[in-house]
């Protein structure tokens, strides 16, 4: 783990580090302050002592100089000095100078000059003649002694200082008779300045350095050092302190400074440092122990609390408590923790009780949840689980099992027409009927909205089919009242039996669903099983072609009657297939399949051709008086191909001369029935393609008006001559008052547009009467006549619902 990780994870480490940090910070800052103070103090003391030493030296020098000045002044007044007037004829002056020099042990020479500046006498053995008083030594105009600072002796070339005093005659105090000069060797002064270990720098008042305790220092360096506070010398830095000259009788205007290296104070500072370090070590050990102990005391209860919390959460034993052993904040935390656990315990107990009661409640709810509230039958969930069990059991036992899915026919229409309450009522009624039709051991469940699942136990396909048929029959037979009117409900069923090849329940259900779909497509109100579907499909794909090739696709004709006169006026041409076994299949059975496999237009072509031939035949034949129109059903596939239209026109034209004479109103007897289909046809294009036929006299009938998607669009875009009103609208004429009005308005609209209305599915005289009263022009249906096959002309064929 990284150091930061340790810091982040442990309060103890953080606290320890913090306290230790504070201690170390305090220790080091105090040490630094003490050391700095000690050093500064020592240094300033050292500097001060040096300056004091320097001042002592300077005072000595000044005293010396003052002494010399006093002496020179006194000596200039000696009586002997009067002899300067007489060129010291007696040598008294010279004698006196030598005497003085000897007595005062002067490290230098005394010179006496006469008034004119000629050297008269001296204490040294120098040749007198020709020497003159140097300008450097000229005395002051005043009477005092003049001090001549360090310079070269004009006579000897030595470094000297000099004191020059004028000599006045004793007998005439204002008369100057000469000059007395004391020349003092610098070495004597230097020895005083150099005394002791004081690093002195001295410069004349005109800044010319005259003394340096550092032999290596150039005069330039000395001059610079005197003006600065620091000087570097040989890689070392020295501090420079100016020294004020002590006041003295002689006004020396020297610049003086002492130079200190600071080296002198190193040793005491080292000593102080050692002691402070020792103190630090001595302090650190107990401090570390103390801080560690304090930290542990702080952290330990938290750690114990953590362990306790951990154990409680691991064991889920909420009856445990931690020991409260302190009165401080930690103690409060322990108490709060205990309270929290107690609360937790209460909540848990409550929760357990609640869970117990909920599970009891659940059991009673289970039954409710498995039942459909409306019908009282098991719901889909219940059915699925029960079916799963039975499926597995049957499979294990090798027993038979069949299921049927029933869907009520046109239930949506009931719901829409009578409302949901009526729908619910119908569902309840059907549920009761279905339950009543069960064999012992079978059961039924509500599978979906109007879907029911029936399970036939120990029943193979044959038995199950019979049972299912019975169920259908029972539904048909169960008449009930809705809004005061008697009513029945039909249902379509899909049947599926457990076979050896059945993979699973899902496959069985999907097969039943598929069959149900087949039953719906097959015209509803029937039960279809998988084998039927398989057979149908085979027939439809293979034998449809065969039927076409064998010319077994034949037209059937249903008469259309003028409602007013009751006379037949037209026939609708319907497609039929004569099966090899002699049964006749209706268009409803195969037309969808034909569309599926793209044969619808072939069927249309065959039928159309035969119908036109019949039209021609009838005109030519013994019943030539027939002036009927022929309504030909044209599928969208047929209409989609321009070529079909062209061929149709050719066909019509080939018989036209005949047909034209027979058509009503001079028009062609051929009426093209166009069903309202999903609007995949471009109506304008369709019209363009139909135009040659229309031009020839063919007319258009709109089939199934009212059931489709764009009735009025067709009406607007095509020159429609006939409207055929949907069969279910006609059939519900009695039961629905609105329907009456709708049909009335269609009739009025058609009348307005000059269109002939044709009502389909007219099944009784009352309806025919009613339609006539409404104003419907023509009618067709069982009441007037059923479709009749041309081939089996005298055999009446039951076609079922159209």
């Amino acid at each position: 783990m990284s150091p930061t990780g340790v810091f982040r994870r442990s309060i103890a480490v953080r606290t320890f580090a913090l306290l230790a940090g504070i201690f170390l910070l305090t220790y080091f800052s105090i040490s630094a302050i003490v050391l700095t103070r000690v050093r500064d103090h020592l240094q300033s003391a050292a500097v001060r002592s040096l300056i004091d030493g320097a001042r002592l030296r300077l005072a000595s020098v000044q005293r010396l100089f003052a002494q010399q000045a006093t002496n020179v002044r006194a000596w200039a007044r000696l009586d002997e000095m009067n002899d300067l007037v007489t060129d010291d004829i007696d040598g008294r002056v010279g004698h006196a100078l030598r005497q003085l020099s000897r007595d005062y042990a002067i490290p230098g020479t005394l010179y006496a000059f006469d008034r004119a500046g000629r050297l008269v006498a001296s204490s040294a053995a120098v040749p007198h003649s020709g020497l003159h008083l140097p300008q450097l030594w000229y005395p002051d105009q005043r009477r005092s002694v003049r001090f001549i600072d360090k310079s070269l002796d004009p006579y000897g070339g030595e470094e000297v200082v000099a004191f020059s005093a004028p000599v006045y005659a004793t007998y005439a105090p204002r008369m100057r008779i000469g000059t007395l000069v004391l020349v003092y060797r610098w070495t004597a002064v230097k020895s005083i300045l150099s005394f002791g270990n004081v690093h002195l720098l001295v410069a004349r008042s005109d800044d010319v350095p005259i003394f340096s305790a550092f032999p290596g220092l150039s005069s330039r360096a000395v001059r610079q050092a005197l003006d600065q506070s620091r000087v570097r010398l040989g890689g070392q830095t020295y501090s420079v302190s100016r020294v004020r000259l002590p006041a003295g009788p002689l006004s020396l205007r020297w610049k003086v400074a002492v130079v200190t290296s600071g080296a002198g104070v190193t040793a005491p500072i080292h000593m102080a440092l050692e002691q402070i370090a020792l103190l630090g070590v001595v302090l650190t050990v107990p401090m570390a122990l103390l801080i560690g102990m304090a930290t542990r005391r702080l952290i330990e209860p938290i750690r114990r609390l953590t362990i306790a919390a951990d154990e409680i959460s691991r064991s889920s034993d909420t009856s445990r408590r931690v020991e409260v052993d302190r009165a401080d904040e930690i103690g409060a935390l322990q108490e709060a923790f205990n309270r929290m656990i107690a609360r937790q315990q209460e909540v848990l107990e409550k929760h357990e009780r609640a869970v117990l009661s909920v599970s009891q409640l659940n059991e009673s709810l289970q039954n409710l949840a498995m039942t459909d509230a409306l019908t009282g039958l098991p719901n889909r969930r219940a059915a699925e689980s029960r079916l799963k069990e039975e499926f597995a059991a049957s499979r294990r036992a090798g027993a038979s099992l069949s299921i049927a899915l029933f869907d009520l026919d046109h239930f949506k229409a009931i719901n829409d027409r009578y409302g949901h309450d009526a729908g619910d009522f119908v569902l309840q009624h059907c549920a009761g009927t279905l339950r009543g039709a069960l064999r012992a051991g079978d059961w039924v469940a509500r599978w979906g909205g109007e879907e029911f699942l029936m399970v036939f136990r120990d029943a193979d396909l044959v038995r199950a089919y019979a049972a299912a048929e019975r169920v259908c029959h029972a539904l048909r037979a169960a008449v009930f009242e809705l809004n005061g009117a008697p009513m029945t409900v039909r249902a379509s069923g899909g049947l599926s039996a457990l076979r050896e090849t059945t993979r699973d329940l899902a496959q069985m259900l999907s097969e039943a669903d598929h069959c149900l779909y087949g039953a719906k497509r097959g015209g509803r109100d029937r039960v279809v099983h998988a084998e039927q579907i398989a057979g149908n499909l085979a027939w439809k794909t293979g034998q449809l072609r065969e039927a076409l090739l064998d010319s077994r696709v034949v037209p059937a004709y249903q008469v259309i009657v003028d409602l007013a006169s009751g006379r037949p006026v037209a026939e609708e041409v319907l497609a039929r297939i004569v099966l090899p076994n002699g049964r006749i299949a209706t268009a409803g059975e195969f037309i969808d399949a034909a569309e599926d496999i793209n044969l619808a237009h072939s069927v249309d072509t065959v039928i159309t051709r035969q119908a036109i031939a019949r039209c021609a035949g009838l005109a030519d034949g013994p019943h030539g008086g027939s002036r009927r129109a022929y309504f030909l059903n044209l599928s969208p596939q047929f209409l989609a191909q321009r070529q079909n239209m062209v061929e149709l026109l050719e066909e019509v034209k080939s018989v036209f001369p005949v047909c034209a004479q027979t058509g009503a109103g001079g028009a062609s007897p051929i009426v093209l029935e166009i069903a309202e289909r999903p609007a995949f046809l471009d109506i304008r294009l369709l019209r363009e393609e139909l135009q040659p036929l229309l031009d020839f006299g063919c007319r258009i009938a709109l089939d199934d008006f009212g059931s489709g998607f764009s009735s009025f669009l067709y009406l607007a875009e095509l020159p429609v001559s006939f409207i055929k009103i949907e069969g279910w609208m006609v059939r519900s004429l009695n039961s629905n008052k609105n329907m009456l009005r709708i049909i009335q308005s269609i009739a009025a609209l058609a009348d307005e547009l000059g269109i002939i209305t044709v009502a389909e599915s007219v099944e009784d005289a009352a309806t025919a009467q009613q339609l006539r009263e409404i104003g419907i022009t023509w009618g067709q249906g069982y009441y007037f006549g059923k479709p009749q096959c041309a081939v089996v002309d005298d055999r009446k064929v039951q076609t079922g619902m159209n």
């Binding site: 009586d79 009067n82 002899d83 007037v85 007489t86 060129d87 004829i89 007696d90 008294r92 005659a169 004793t170 007998y171 005439a172």
Partner: protein, 141 residues
């Protein structure tokens, strides 16, 4: 030769004058002093520092020989009437009044040189060592 004879004569004449007065004391003064002779009383006043100015107001600078010299002693007895040691009290008294005794020079040669050079100076020498460039104010027997 004639010049030599003349010089000889002059020398003899002078020597005769000086030699005639070998025991005599000559009172000499700087040639610039405004007197040509001086009385013994005036001399006495000058050497006791009672007369300090010449008649024209210039200061008088009297010069003595050192007190051990015989000439000083003779001069003191002749002019002041007493040997020099008798004047110790006098000079001491005068000292406190700010007056110092006359300047002391070490030799007659020195006195001659001094008097010749210092304006207002007056001194005395033995007649045999008469210096040049001085004015003789009096002959003391």
């Amino acid at each position: 030769m004639a010049r030599l004879v003349l010089g000889l004569w002059i020398w003899i004449a002078l020597a005769g004058v000086c030699a005639a007065e070998s025991r005599t004391i000559l009172v000499i003064a700087n040639p610039a002093v405004p007197v040509s002779a001086i009385s013994e009383a005036s001399l006495r006043a000058i050497y006791l520092m009672q007369m300090t100015l010449w008649p024209d107001g210039t200061p008088i600078v009297p010069v003595n020989r050192d007190s051990e010299s015989a000439l000083r002693d003779r001069f003191s007895r002749l002019v002041l009437g007493a040997p020099p040691r008798d004047f110790a009290g006098y000079w001491a008294r005068l000292h406190f009044q700010g007056e110092n005794p006359p300047l002391v020079l070490g030799s007659g040669r020195d006195v001659g040189a001094f008097v010749a050079r210092v304006a207002g100076a007056i001194g005395y020498v033995v007649a045999t060592a008469c210096p040049h460039g001085v004015k003789i104010l009096r002959h003391l027997p």
